[in-house]
Symmetry: C2
Subunit: 271 residues, 2 copies
């Protein structure tokens, strides 16, 4: 073996993957003992394709039953397989409820979590009396009508840099601060469907579900919109009046890096 | 017991139900030995609510894996329970992949199949390279781009009264005729999604999936649009060039009666 002949040397490289998944069948993103996670399935499948064990680092965790339109992760591989072939090999082997929507070689210092500039989550609520069967795993059913303008007004209190202690669950792990910055928070209604879209620099454990859970209480008239401000200002730990909305309505929608936003670009028909 | 005291007599009545279902977990609409069907689940659930066995008659069958936005059926019940309470009781007991979206008392001569004036089916195809996980059970993945104008042109040959022998499977039961009338057939593209919508007075076994299967062959350039006319005119039994499209893209969309079309009316948000 001659290490000078570069074309014969298999070099390690870092790849970034964008991943869409239906979280219904998984115990969440992160590997957990005796449970099936999205990360575990990806690690097993990549290992089978590249022929060595791999460790996949996601931009963050998602809970049991939470979905992703675009989770981002990175891993190091030592293989001659080209990016596009690697993507196709993984997608052909892994279950159809997980899809690698993009796979590219990146600089060795790219880090899915540390390099992220921001994230967007979307939360879907269905307010019709009857939950359409094909939506039941991808939206939360609310039997009451929700006051969209009141929820939208309340959501604007979240925008900016605040201590979100009152809107997150005890993470059972050490965190240095509960201060986070929300860039944008929209609440829109379209027929019976209400969509919450929130962008921020990072999110605490159960933060999105706690914010949406409280906004839904505003939506049914149980809380005033400016109660959000009071809870943020007090910055006490979360209490019962801030419930966590159910997981199946939540999607990690996108993660962006270096100023450029990352979206899933689906194919287009010619016309 | 005094039969003259009408208010104390529980009278039998005929009810019509509109049913939405996710067909993924079922062996189709119709009861089959040792398999779980939508009809069976509905019959078991209604029997538990009204306290006597019931027989449910659908507007027609749907195959394994096929969904319904609005199947219509009728059944006779002997109960004092009001329509709205009956609907709620059934929906609270049955699995969330089956929903009774409407329940009304109808005239005793209403018959879900014989009284139907027409039906609409919709078929969804996803042509992006990556199938979004949350669509995988409700659309068919096509790796090729489809020529929507060519498919639309071909679909117009189906409109009218024709012998559809070449576009249906052997039903393994006696049927008097393979002549049916198609009222309307549209093919539309929106981003990577192609939607086929067909309305007719009735459909043969696997007719919709055969028509869509052939249109997709037109869409990839394997057949000319006017080949539809040739196959209809010849009226020979179905051959291999008319494949049956996969079941998971198909939805029974609505059934209409007496000139008035039946739709699912979801609830609306106040604004």
């Amino acid at each position: 073996m001659n290490p000078d002949k570069n074309d014969n040397v298999i070099q390690q490289r870092r790849i970034r993957i964008d991943v869409a998944y239906d979280g219904t069948a998984y115990a969440g993103w992160q590997v957990q003992p005796e449970l099936v996670s999205v990360q575990q399935r990806l690690e097993e499948t990549f290992a089978g394709v590249v022929g060595h064990s791999v460790k996949i680092h996601g931009s963050g965790r998602t809970d049991r039953g939470v979905h992703a339109k675009c989770q981002v992760a990175h891993l190091d591989v030592t293989t001659r397989i080209a990016d596009i072939s690697l993507q196709r090999a993984v997608n052909s082997r892994i279950a159809p409820d997980i899809r690698v929507t993009r796979l590219i070689t990146v600089a060795p210092d790219f880090h899915a979590r540390r390099s992220a500039h921001g994230k967007e989550y979307r939360y879907f609520v269905w307010c019709g009396e009857i939950m359409p069967p094909e939506k039941r795993l991808y939206a939360t059913h609310c039997h009451h009508l929700l006051d969209v303008p009141a929820m939208s007004k309340a959501a604007q209190w979240f925008v900016g840099t605040h201590d979100f202690a009152a809107f997150s669950a005890n993470p059972q792990r050490e965190i240095d601060t509960t201060v986070r910055t929300i860039f944008k928070f929209t609440v829109t209604g379209r027929g019976p469907q209400v969509t919450f879209a929130v962008q921020g620099n990072g999110f605490l454990y159960k933060q999105v579900r706690s914010m949406v859970g409280f906004l839904m209480r505003v939506g049914v008239g149980a809380e005033r919109p400016d109660a959000v401000k009071e809870l943020l200002d007090a910055a006490n730990p979360r209490v019962a009046r801030v419930p966590s909305a159910q997981p199946q309505g939540l999607f990690l929608w996108r993660v962006w890096y270096g100023g450029s936003r990352v979206r899933v670009h689906p194919g287009k028909n010619p016309r």
